[in-house]
């Protein structure tokens, strides 16, 4: 992956190594806010926003602070710190600058603070030793992959509500079955890259 081309990174992050369906990161919002396509889309956009910024900032924290000081082992806690403050900061700024976007994202913004997909992305970026451009592309693609999965899933769940599901499977059980079937479907992309 060291010298992977941009295109390969994009395809890999969106389809082959989809964050939700293949890496199993960010399962909580995937199940929690996927009852309606609209809110799922809002969550996807919020994650895209935070992931991109987090990817860039953690890149600098890693290359400008942790590596020169020989403190690589601190990456997890340092990245959590970055993500948590970043989400808070984005929330404060958004509330002032764009109340419309703020109310559209609503409760999803603070939810991302504890989203493992964001932390996973930051850790993967340094694991693959990406440069800045690759980091940005990978962050955006991973977030698009997340949005794609959650919006598709929400679409299916909207149909599920109306369908005749056996009583023991109603609600979360059938959602989990659906999610696993989607994961198997995405497995079909595995030969692409």
């Amino acid at each position: 992956m060291e010298n992977a081309s941009i295109l390969i990174i994009v395809v890999s992050a969106i389809l082959v190594n989809n964050f939700v369906l293949s890496r199993f990161l960010g399962i909580c919002p995937f199940l929690g806010v996927s009852k309606q396509v609209e809110t799922a889309f809002g969550m996807g956009m919020a994650v895209t926003f935070v992931m991109t910024l987090a990817g860039i900032i953690t890149y600098f924290v890693w290359h400008a602070l942790l590596v020169p000081l020989g403190l690589e082992f601190l990456k997890t806690i340092a990245f959590i710190l970055v993500i948590a403050s970043l989400v808070q900061f984005v929330e404060i700024v958004l509330q002032k600058i764009s109340p419309t976007l703020y109310s559209a994202l609503g409760v999803f913004l603070p939810l991302i603070t504890t989203n493992c997909a964001v932390l996973g992305l930051a850790l993967l970026n340094i694991q693959y030793d990406f440069n800045l451009i690759q980091t940005i592309v990978h962050s955006i693609s991973a977030a698009i992959g997340f949005s794609l999965a959650i919006v598709l899933f929400a679409g299916i769940r909207e149909k599920l509500v109306l369908s005749d599901v056996p009583t023991p499977f109603e609600g979360f059980p059938i959602a989990l079955v659906t999610a696993s079937l989607m994961a198997i479907a995405f497995l079909g992309f595995s030969g692409l890259v």
Partner: protein, 327 residues
């Protein structure tokens, strides 16, 4: 691990934390958004259950909608009159009279007075049972007690009792209409919470036929209609209906009803009492009393016979000197 790396770890993490903390503090100052203090007050006044019964996303959404003038101040179905009152104070508005409604199962046909016409052993669901010759109950309009309403109620406010009829818990009911929509027999209705007289029957068949099936059903005899002094009860579609606006809760209809299909809370029945100091002996109350319970001559203090008084409060409304109190 040498001492230096510990030092550097602490310094870098502490530095990062300090940097971000300072950044956030600065941002919260710089980008501070002025929030209407009334929004916080309204939020405090609301029940805080975030049930969404008002149609807005949570209590916060409703508070903002009230501020924006989109939602009525009595839009919260759970809060009750105190909640409306406090929101009205915050918004500087008059609290309009919102009558708290509750759902009520309009059927008294428990298993001992209304027999089943066949033994039903299918799915425990009213809708399913209705498909089979209109359900097991011999009365085609009554509550079958299979608990479909119980399952849709989000507030745990309706339960089928041991005699096979659903009963609403008045304290828990928020009049959300879910059970009313779910009931295939349409036997659940909304009545004012304070209403003390209710026709507990939904049967729209002819008297003789009804009586064969159920001992406590309305047989549409019309006695209530004729005995009501206030024109508040009418037999429509062969079942008595009370106009809750006109009803003064005198409970005459409930007393006269031959099958006791009309329920009344006789315990809560009030009696008119004349306050002697205020009465000027105008005889207005005496003339308006439907049961001749008030005695007294012109220009002398009147008296209410508590034995005869039915607590309709007609005299209280008529008295020009506020000399009559309902107790």
């Amino acid at each position: 691990m040498d001492f230096n790396s510990i030092l550097w770890s602490g310094a870098s993490l502490g530095g990062l934390g300090l940097l971000f903390g300072a950044g956030l503090a600065f941002a919260s100052q710089k980008f501070a958004v002025e929030v209407d203090p009334r929004a916080v007050q309204i939020l405090d006044a609301l029940p805080g259950a975030n049930c969404g019964g008002c149609g807005y996303p949570g209590c916060g959404g409703f508070a903002n909608a009230v501020l924006a003038g989109e939602a009525p101040i009595n839009g919260c179905p759970v809060g009750g009159p105190e909640c409306v009152q406090s929101i009205a104070e915050i918004m500087g508005m008059e609290a309009s009279d919102s009558v708290k409604m509750i759902a009520r199962v309009l059927c008294n046909g428990t298993s001992d007075v209304c027999q089943d016409k066949y033994e039903y052993s299918g799915v425990k669901d009213c809708l399913a049972a209705t498909q089979l010759a209109g359900g097991p109950k011999s009365c085609a309009f009554g509550c079958m007690g299979l608990g479909t309403c119980e399952r849709v109620c989000p507030f745990d406010a309706i339960h089928v009792n041991d005699k096979g009829v659903a009963v609403v818990d008045e304290d828990k009911c928020t009049a959300c209409n879910k059970c009313i929509e779910a009931c295939p027999k349409d036997v659940i209705g909304l009545v004012p919470h304070s209403q003390l007289v209710v026709v507990d029957c939904n049967n729209q068949e002819r008297g003789g036929h009804v009586k064969k099936n159920c001992g406590v059903a309305c047989i549409a005899c019309g006695i209530c209609e004729r005995s009501c002094p206030f024109d508040a009860v009418h037999v429509e579609n062969l079942v008595a209906k009370i106009d809750y606006d006109k009803c003064t809760e005198c409970m005459i209809c409930a007393e006269k009803c031959p099958t006791k299909a009309i329920w009344a809370d006789f315990e809560a029945r009030k009696t008119a009492v004349v306050i002697d100091d205020k009465c000027i002996g105008c005889t207005l109350c005496k003339r308006v009393c439907p049961v001749d319970a008030i005695e007294g001559e012109v220009k002398s203090v009147h008296k209410v016979d508590p034995e005869k008084c039915i607590g309709c409060s007609a005299c209280e409304a008529k008295c020009p000197k506020d000399a009559i109190e309902m107790r």
